[in-house]
């Protein structure tokens, strides 16, 4: 469950729409089932009351949509941002992706979001409804009736390892602002690092070989905001539409992660949307972990205007040879 309810957000939106602070609201619209929510823009409160939704399945990171939304029409866009979304928001501002003045941010405390894939893994297909009004989810299926599962067991990966309950950007807040959390988000990276190179290679071959190059990871990523991605540009020399073989799978994912290294806020959208459930966040987290270890802790999006580690340096930085041999100790 979320302590902040849909009704509270609708009331806030009503206030801001009616006093003219904002002209539209970027939010989620309920779908066919209990869990499939689609981003939508609401311009009147009636449509919001009808379709707006906010619950344990409202995990999408809204920051990236603001690039497009702020360019449409006059007035400000109201957006409700979870703590993790605000980091992406700041990073986008750092990169001049939209006009801050065109957005009104209401920071909302978040109690962790649920991953429908985990529910389906637990109960199989045929989920008729999910009641998430308490921290024990009641899942009704076509074949097994109503079953219960603790929310903690089906938390989205990024929420399981939530890095911050603190909003780093907002115009106003609903609910208490939290703190930056020392999470265990690098545990899996650690585990991989401890493996032998052969084991790691096998692990990633198994994961990356499933890639169908649908580009969902890239297209949903708030750090991937290029006008045209190198992988789409026939003149770049690296364009490819299909992961023809293991090289291209690796190439795409290494370069994708490299291009967002130091800019990735670890929002976890890439892994959330991957139709093949490839743990793409483990690539991003490797870079984040290395950056923290090599150059000092750095959280992308913590402040607008921060200089990303890859466009920065110190004279005492470690050598690449030291970087790869760190694990040997």
């Amino acid at each position: 469950m979320q302590k902040i309810t849909r009704e509270v957000l609708i009331a806030k939106a009503e206030e801001l729409l009616s006093n003219g602070t904002v002209s539209k609201v970027l939010g989620l619209k309920k779908g066919e089932f209990s869990y499939d929510q689609t981003p939508a823009v609401f311009t009147d409160i009636e449509s919001m009351k009808k379709d707006f939704v906010f619950d344990d399945f409202s995990g999408a990171n809204f920051s990236k949509y603001l690039i497009k939304e702020t360019k449409k029409g006059e007035g400000k866009t109201l957006v409700f941002l979870k703590p993790c979304d605000t980091y992406s928001f700041n990073q986008l501002l750092t990169e001049h992706r939209f006009d801050r003045e065109k957005v009104y941010v209401v920071g909302i405390a978040c109690d962790g979001m649920v991953d429908i894939k985990k529910i389906k893994n637990a109960f199989g297909d045929g989920i008729v409804s999910v009641d998430a009004t308490t921290d024990t989810l009641k899942v009704e299926t076509l074949y097994d009736g109503v079953k219960e599962i603790a929310k903690a067991e089906v938390l989205a990966e990024r929420c399981r390892n939530c890095k911050s309950k603190k909003h780093v950007a907002y115009d106003e807040l609903i609910g208490e602002d939290g703190e930056v959390i020392s999470s265990n988000r690098f545990d899996q990276v650690d585990e991989l690092e401890k493996m032998t190179a052969d084991e790691r290679f096998a692990f990633w071959q198994n994961e990356l070989s499933r890639c169908i190059r649908c580009n969902a990871c890239r297209d949903v990523c708030p750090a991937c905001t290029c006008e045209k991605c190198v992988f789409d540009n026939p003149n770049s020399g690296v364009q490819n539409k299909a992961a023809a073989n293991s090289f291209e799978e690796q190439m795409f994912h290494i370069i994708r992660a490299f291009h967002v290294a130091g800019r990735c806020t670890d929002c976890g959208e890439c892994s959330r949307v991957c139709p093949q459930q490839i743990p793409l966040h483990l690539l991003n987290r490797k870079f984040i972990k290395d950056i923290n270890g090599f150059y000092g802790d750095y959280q992308a999006g913590e402040e607008v205007g921060n200089r990303a580690p890859l466009v920065n340096y110190t004279k005492e930085d470690l050598e690449p040879s030291e970087a790869v041999n760190k694990g040997d100790k």
């Binding site: 989920i127 499933r210 991957c274």
Partner: protein, 341 residues
């Protein structure tokens, strides 16, 4: 109708694999997928594979030919790969139907010989859906999940697998495993069919209809204002097209190897910004046009050209995989109006 005890299934697989490559759905990280059967590989119970079975006939990437250059001479090499027979086991009703849709594209003149040779070599063993999912809406397109087509139709109960050959190819395959199958009546199958039909009625999407769509509807929907909102948050990724069993668009590209050039084709997606890119630019300038194209094609253009047949089979893959949960059902309901609600 023949039946085989599930405990003997591995033996049947082994027999089939003697003469052909056998692919069965297998559980793995990220969901089920068709894998080459080998000793010890177990069949998945999952309703469906993440990627559809179209891969077998229209793979994501295939080499069409090669050019070898030596000095200033060029040699053209035809290196079509499909030479062996293969069997795909456990294809669901929706995916089986998708082959019919793909056939109309690839097998009409001019015939796509790459696709055709794969269709010729492949034997399809379909499997009735014991436990359809909430995202299933094959019924909308007149598909009977309880009675899939294919060279052989199979029904799985708690204990047995029932097999019915529909084609010559199917007969041949069945006879190859006749030593471990036995004749039976269709009672258990009829029972299962009834059960499945009952479930199909209960599915949340069972009320989705195609009434409002089909051939000749271009003018009605092309300029609908609804497209703006429907497409407004589409990321432009290719997930829906790549998991779709009926999407058939591809691109042909050249890959420069060390010695020459490999000409290959690979799936393309009408959702991509460089799809239909031409010298003057892109005729589908915004995501709205691309989005509209995909759904208009499924619901109007394809029926226009194919005797009213829709190019969607209601498998529900795009419903589960779309990053923003936008999908054909939402499009149909929005465009089609309240009646569908």
């Amino acid at each position: 109708m023949r039946k085989i005890s599930l405990s003997n299934l591995d033996k049947a697989f082994a027999l089939i694999a003697e003469n052909a490559k056998l692919y069965i759905p297998v559980d793995g990280k990220g969901g089920a997928s068709f894998k080459l059967w080998q000793e010890g590989v177990k069949m998945s119970d999952a309703l469906n594979t993440v990627r559809s079975a179209k891969d077998f006939f229209f793979p994501q990437m295939e080499t069409l030919m090669e050019f070898k250059t030596e000095g200033k001479n060029i040699e053209i090499i035809d290196n079509r790969q499909e030479k062996e027979d293969f069997v795909v086991f456990g294809v669901r009703a929706c995916d089986v139907k998708s082959f019919e849709i793909l056939d109309r594209v690839f097998l009409s003149e001019p015939v796509d010989s790459y696709y055709a040779s794969r269709r010729e070599k492949g034997v399809i063993v379909s499997l009735a859906c014991g436990r359809p999912s909430e995202t299933c809406f094959c019924k909308t397109f007149g598909i009977d999940a309880a009675n899939p087509a294919g060279d052989i139709t199979a029904w799985k109960t708690e204990t047995d697998l029932y097999l019915l050959a529909n084609t010559e190819k199917g007969e041949k395959l069945l006879s190859a495993i006749s030593s471990i199958t036995e004749d039976c009546d269709g009672k258990a199958v009829e029972e299962q069919k009834k059960q499945i039909s009952a479930i199909m009625e209960k599915l949340p999407l069972s009320n989705v209809t195609t009434e409002k769509f089909g051939a000749g509807k271009t003018k009605e929907y092309f300029d609908s204002p609804a497209w703006d909102e429907l497409s407004s948050h589409c990321l432009g990724c290719g997930t829906c097209t790549f998991v779709c069993p009926t999407c058939q668009c591809y691109d042909i590209k050249d890959f420069k190897t060390n010695e020459g050039v490999q000409r290959f084709r690979c799936w393309d997606s009408c959702m991509y910004s460089d799809f239909t890119l031409m010298a003057h630019g892109n005729s589908r300038a915004s995501q709205k046009e691309r989005f509209r194209q995909r759904f208009m094609h499924k619901l109007v253009y394809y029926p226009d050209n194919n005797d009213g047949m829709f190019s969607c089979v209601g498998c529900g893959r795009c419903l589960t995989k779309c990053p923003i949960s936008m999908n054909i059902v939402k499009v149909m309901k929005t465009l089609g109006g309240k009646e569908n609600d």
